[in-house]
């Protein structure tokens, strides 16, 4: 194993003209946050897999602040890391940093969230779930549930946040693509917060009443908020089809009890593992695909017993 790494190291050196010694290579991992339901298991999986691969990982947490992240990217370059794994929180802001990394001969990949197309020439690969794709899958699922027509509300995450933009954009575009008869009544921002979703849902239920024939929430936490508001207003009356994202444990319970129609599972463990494995391949001098997705599973009542919740 060690031998293989050493030999492939030579070729990697030749390939990228990177400055490096024969010691363990250091990968700079700029993650979204370190205390977060999804990010924490992803970070842990990435570190664990890196140990197995004999890679050194320097984890820097942006704590959900883009500016911190762009600065950390510069730090990674200055420290002459052998590779950079970036969890982008903005589709644009990191591009100059990635360009500098490329100029310095440091290969970069993206984990979890995509960036705009302009970033493509500066990265080797983008691994992980695609938030845009998730939005599209949610649109498909909700269309199935509603037989392609009716009116829905969208409970979105934080305004301006990359995940929100992707998940709402994917949903809206997919409906357009399907030429769907589903009409969006309103989109509100509830900041991925259950309480905010609860408060906003109460008002939306009051405002639209029976016109709400379906709900798309940008994550399961906010879907939960809508369910609670619905129960307050209507007691035991069955909920309209609700589609969430993330595949949290309590969302699985809601799907079993019929309160939710579906959620989309993306595994943080797979997310973390795939990124570091891809980086290891790059450092070994192998070619990697520009897009390496992790499986996204739409979970409904049919398959809820066969799928593991994400967290």
């Amino acid at each position: 194993m060690a031998h293989r790494i050493t030999t492939s190291l030579v070729s990697a050196l030749a390939l990228m003209a990177a400055v490096g010694t024969a010691e363990a290579k250091t990968v700079c991992y700029v993650t979204a946050a370190d205390a977060h339901a999804y990010a924490t298991p992803a970070n842990e999986a990435l570190s664990a897999r890196a140990d197995e691969l004999g890679l050194e990982v320097l984890t820097l947490s942006q704590n959900f602040d883009v500016q911190t992240g762009t600065e950390q990217l510069n730090t990674c370059i200055a420290r002459k890391a052998d590779g950079i794994i970036l969890w982008p929180l903005d589709p644009q802001a990191y591009i100059p940093g990635l360009a500098r990394a490329q100029a310095a001969g440091i290969p970069s990949i993206l984990i979890n969230s995509p960036m705009s197309e302009q970033a493509n020439e500066f990265i080797k690969s983008f691994t992980g779930p695609d938030v845009y794709e998730e939005g599209a899958l949610a649109a498909d699922s909700l269309s199935d549930a509603m037989n392609g027509e009716g009116s829905v509300i969208v409970i979105a995450g934080q305004a301006g946040n990359g995940t929100t933009i992707g998940r709402v954009g994917g949903f809206v575009d997919r409906l357009k693509e399907l030429d769907s008869k589903i009409e969006i009544l309103d989109t509100v921002n509830a900041d991925f917060d259950q309480q905010k979703a609860l408060v906003a849902s109460r008002d939306l239920i009051t405002r639209f009443g029976d016109k709400i024939m379906g709900v798309y929430a940008n994550d399961d936490t906010m879907a939960r908020g809508f369910i609670d508001a619905w129960k307050e207003a209507h007691g035991d009356k069955p909920t309209p089809p609700i589609v969430g994202i993330n595949g949290q444990r309590d969302a699985f319970d809601s799907i079993r009890s019929g309160e939710m129609y579906s959620t989309i599972v993306q595994s943080p463990v797979e997310d973390g593992k795939l990124a570091i494995e891809t980086m290891a391949n790059i450092l070994d001098g192998k070619e990697v695909d520009a897009r390496l997705p992790i499986p996204l599973t739409v979970v409904t009542k049919e398959n809820v017993e066969d799928v593991e919740p994400a967290f």
Binding site: A35, A39, Q195, D203, T206, E232
Partner: protein, 330 residues
């Protein structure tokens, strides 16, 4: 060190002299504004005047309302603001759920509130006894507490394990949600303490002129510290209820509540210079903000735009209040 109230002394004395007439006017102004919003809501949206919507407004008010009661004490005592509220709310929410399996729902709830109160005590000691500016003290304590809370739970969402406690919080008495009743009780107790007890008198005395209060044997330091303990307890209670309502809690669950509470208190006409205000005033401010937010959502105003309206509201309300008082004095 009289900390925050020091630069405010020049203007502070104005508030003591305000006549009953003026108070009536500034109170009526807000009442009028609420009426206008209600009227607009009723005309523009057929669902505004339904019982369901009214209960919604009340329920949405309850969680932040409990914090508002505590925050009123901080402002009246001349303590500027308590910025550690997000941390103490998180403390209340996470502990009241996380401790359920080991010690039971009720003790967990009580312990969560007590610990939040303890965080308030630390801020209070720093402000009252060491003389640190409240903004810095509560910012520092809040950062530390939130860090510890995050370290304690890692990245995990804490889920509730006691359905009975959730049912209790969600239950209704005569159609009014329990959580609203708790909020009303806290408001009444807060009003009683601030308006009718010696502690309340001390709070006003400390807020309007700390040196004079000290001279007349008011335990100024303890009264200042006490305001932060009260806010800590209120935020802990609010966080506990939030946790039980949602049956899940994350460290960032309390984000933004400090500003919502300050907004309500300030819009209600409680002076940030200290020495003037009351719990009912703050609650009226909260009612205005809540009704306005409700109307905005019913009207489909985009979420980021609501911030604009709210910011403008704070500025106009306080500027009008200041202008009104100044004219009264002149």
């Amino acid at each position: 060190m009289s900390s925050a109230s020091e630069p405010a002394q020049g203007t502070g004395s104005r508030f003591q002299r305000n006549s009953a007439m003026l108070e009536l006017l500034s109170k009526a102004g807000l009442g009028l504004a609420i009426l206008v919003v209600i009227l607009y809501g009723a005309l523009s949206s057929p669902v505004f005047f339904t019982t369901g919507n009214m209960v919604n407004i009340l329920t949405s008010m309850a969680i932040v309302g409990i914090v508002v009661v505590g925050m009123t004490f901080v402002l009246v005592v001349g303590g500027l603001a308590d910025l550690s509220v997000p941390a103490t709310i998180a403390c209340g929410a996470i502990l009241s759920l996380a401790l359920q399996p080991s010690i039971g729902a009720v003790p967990a709830f009580a312990l969560a509130i007590a610990l939040a109160g303890f965080c308030g005590l630390i801020s209070g000691l720093l402000v009252g006894y060491v003389g640190i500016n409240p903004i810095i003290a509560t910012l520092g304590v809040g950062t530390i507490v939130l860090g510890i809370v995050q370290a304690a739970v890692g990245g995990v969402i804490v889920y509730g394990t006691n359905p009975a406690s959730a049912d209790f919080v969600k239950s209704r008495v005569f159609g009014i949600p329990t959580i609203v009743l708790i909020f009303l009780v806290v408001t009444l107790v807060g009003h009683f303490v601030l308006g009718r007890t010696t502690w309340g008198r001390w709070t006003f005395a400390t807020g309007s002129n700390a040196n004079a209060a000290k001279a007349s044997a008011v335990p100024v330091r303890a009264v200042k510290a006490g305001a932060f303990v009260i806010t800590g307890l209120c935020a802990g209670l609010s966080g506990g209820l939030l946790g039980l309502t949602l049956q899940s809690a994350r460290p960032l669950v309390g984000t933004g509540y400090e500003f919502s509470a300050i907004t309500a208190v300030v819009v209600g006409g409680v002076s940030i210079m200290g020495g003037f205000g009351s719990v009912p005033r703050a609650i009226v401010g909260l009612i205005f903000v809540s009704v306005l937010t409700n109307v905005m959502v019913l009207e489909g105003v985009r979420t980021p735009t609501q911030g604009f309206v709210l910011g403008l509201l704070i500025a106009v309300a306080v500027a009008a209040d200041v202008a009104l008082r100044r004219r009264g004095v002149a």
